[in-house]
Amino acid sequence: MKQDPIESDVSAREPYAVEMTGISKSFGKLKALDKVDLRIRKGSIHALLGENGAGKSTLMKILYGLYTKDEGEIKVRGESVDIRNPKQAIKNGIGMVHQHFMLVQNMTIAENIVLGSELTKSLGRLDHARMNASISEFGKQYGLEVKPEDLIMDVSVATQQRVEILKALFRGVDILILDEPTAVLTPQEIDSLIVTMRRLVEDGKTIILITHKLKEIMASSDYCTVIRRGQLIDTVRVSDVTEKELASMMVGREVKLTTEKKKATPGETVLEIKGLTVKDNRGIPQVRNLSLHVRRGEILAIAGVDGNGQTELIEAVTGLRKAESGEILVNGVDIANGQPIDSHKAGIRTIHEDRQKRGLVLDFEVGENLILESYKDHRFTGRLNCISWKKVNEYACGQIDKFDIRPADCAEQPVKELSGGNQQKVIIARTVEQEPALLLACQPTRGLDVGAIEFVRNALVEQRDSGRAVLLISFELDEVLDIADRINVIFNGSIVADLDPEETNEQAIGLLMAGGGQ
């Protein structure tokens, strides 16, 4: 193995912020980590890169005391430590912000941050004024401005994340682990998070970033350690490598970051939306007089920041939400104000953005999930007009093979035991198999790693090539630019631009997404 660049960057007298040596951890038969070494330089942003299930989160959970290691040694600031629970981790100055926030929804921001060390007046009454003032001041100090008196349930996800970071800092943490912090953020919020991280590092904090998003590593980190299947692959200086090199290190083979495709040959219009207005649960119109059309054999991508009406648009098209006015024509038939069954009958199949809520029955086996929309098909009918599980399993094995769903013998395994990427493959296998007239793909690569992203994008292009209309809704601009044949920008519930990807660029679209086109 090459020389760890951190060793040469760090002077001999300065101890590492964290030094983990020979860490191993097994879950039953599965070796999650195999003698992994990790050195973190004080005052740096250090990315931990790996596919889903590679072991990066496990390594950090060991550092944070959520798991105990099988073997290995951990030193913090040069001193050997034995961290058995998060409390001891915090005592050692190590904090962790989880992917799923752990905040009390009906308490204020300040109350959440000070939880456990509240300021009180006489008789133990909470001193809200002083708490709010000190939190406000504390946030400003790190450039993490929050309104201390807001309730958690009323604030955005990005703000909740800030609260989580502040919570850790408030407890005197100076080594901060962020687990997939950008998974829930919009592009702008990601930029702002990176600025925050930089500021914290300037302040002397150390940040460990768990991620599988290459762009963010390039934009934010000093060092990057790559882990694959529980093995340490390499630690590199981010300035020394390219995005592509990192991707191949992570996946273990050459990866194409862009999707290859022929020029589209669009046919007749499949979906036409005319003057659609849709209100959200509070009665506020989120989709406003929106019109668009998708043709056979093309991928239309809707680019936009989350919360500009995409959710309501999808719900109206799939029959989950009523339309105030307007038409949704599929091959000339209006399905607005219908039920999900009408959308289905019209030939629309959807890869929903929330695959665990809408796309899969997690407790069902893979086979059962694969027939979720086609269980009435005569292919799966056995004696007495019942479902023949033998036939379902045979079909499932075929699909698992065809779509490379792993593990290969998972037909009768609950789908919840599969990784996110493989769960998405199950949905794609199911959706594509039904040969829909229109494939509606909402955030189809959300939370997936590079290998799975490549698979999903290729599948969408394949669908286009076999003559289907594909409507892609994505918050990720590079995805839109990568596979779209036509781009519509959505802002404030309306389509504000219809663009040819060949004749536009990220900056132009970004401006339109932010409302700059009006």
Binding site: T68, P340, I341, K357, F364, E368, L372, C386
Partner: protein, 370 residues
């Protein structure tokens, strides 16, 4: 050793056995604290059940109604609904059995069939109402079915109290016609010369003659298997399970979620009411003023819990539950232990068995920690 335990706990069956053992140990502690020798008590418990074929048959007879309510709760549970109203539906089934069994004379075989059809429909509609309320007004089925329980409860008292119904000088309705009874052998037959010589001639059939055993047992097994087949093999069952596990995904896959919720409760309520009618037709023969407080529906919740909502599992869970209750009576009468102690013992056991499904996960955690 530790690895072995972890491995054993991960299997559902061994988990139940383990839970049973722990339950019995803690039940013993409860008995000991109450001042009763647990070894003797358990001895009575087991001999109470297993010392004769008659006793074992009696446990089976006792188990039938709670297996039915258990099936009702389990079926609804599999489809994501908590039918706490099994008790009310059961009571309506009892009323149906008692009323049609006495007031509508019919030929023997037809009579019970007609009663069962009526009971199933009435119980089904009653439970379906709760689902409809949920679909239409968003009222949670737990709330509505609890309320419906009380309505059924007082309705039974009202019916029994009617001048034209109540048998003068008693607290119950008239006994149903013999055409509506479904025992293998009638109660009268037991004490006749003929009956006694029959038992002497065929000793193996003794428990069938000397208990209230009847066609309800066969029906119970049939319904359990039928419900299992429906859930596992039919499209309807597939839809119901999908809705039960994740109604959002089912809705998105264009399944008729609301219709299925009503259908599921209809079947559940129907099964529970069938149990009630069978109890009247094979054991009680009439309904009483206080009969409504026997809580077969509540026992059914425990049975479904132990069975992990599996229809076939309900048979075994029901037998276990009925066995504990029956054997508990033996402890009570032999050792003069108060009912409360027996109930605590049974409660501890049920609690631990109900925890059994959590054991594999616990084992996983244990495994991970090490």
């Amino acid at each position: 050793m530790r690895k072995l335990i972890v491995k054993a706990l991960k299997k559902p069956f061994t988990a139940v056995v383990f839970a049973l053992i722990v339950g019995f140990i803690l039940g013993a502690v409860a008995l000991a604290v109450g001042g009763y020798d647990p070894v003797r008590a358990y001895n009575y418990l087991f001999t109470g059940v297993f010392s004769s074929t008659n006793r074992m048959m009696q446990v089976l007879v006792d188990a039938v109604p709670i297996i039915f309510t258990g099936l009702a709760v389990a079926f609804a549970g599999k489809t994501g609904l908590f039918n706490i109203g099994a008790d009310g539906q059961f009571i309506l089934g009892q009323i149906t059995g008692a009323v049609i069994g006495y007031y509508v004379p019919m030929p023997p075989v037809l009579h019970p069939v007609f009663i069962l059809l009526c009971a199933f429909t009435i119980g089904g509609v009653y439970a379906g109402l709760a689902s409809w309320l949920k679909n239409r007004f968003g009222i949670h089925e737990v709330i509505s079915t609890i309320m419906l329980n009380w309505i059924a409860y007082y309705f039974m008292i009202f019916i029994v109290n009617m001048k034209s119904v109540k048998v003068p000088g008693s607290q119950h309705s008239p006994e149903i016609l013999s055409s509506a009874k479904i025992n293998f052998f009638s109660r009268e037959f037991r004490s006749t010369e003929e009956g006694m010589s029959f038992v002497d001639k065929y000793p193996l059939l003794k428990p069938f003659v000397q208990t209230d055993a009847g066609y309800a047992i066969i029906l119970m097994i049939g319904v359990s298997v039928l419900l299992w087949v429906i859930l596992k093999y039919t499209r309807l069952g597939y839809e119901l399970r999908a809705v039960g596990y994740n109604r959002f995904a089912a809705e998105f896959a264009a399944m008729p979620v609301k219709r299925n919720a009503i259908l599921s409760m209809f079947i559940s309520g129907g099964v529970s009411a069938t149990g009630g009618a069978l109890l009247v037709m094979s054991t009680s023969y009439y309904i009483t003023m206080l009969g409504a407080s026997e809580g077969y529906g509540w026992d059914g919740i425990a049975v479904a819990l132990i069975a992990g909502n599996h229809p076939i599992g309900c048979i075994f869970a029901g037998l276990l539950y009925a066995g504990l209750k029956f054997g508990g009576l033996e402890i009570q009468s032999r050792m003069r232990a108060p009912t409360e102690i027996i109930k605590i013992m049974i409660g501890v056991l049920v609690l631990f068995i109900a925890l059994a499904p959590a054991l594999p996960r616990l084992a996983e955690r244990l495994d991970r920690k090490e």
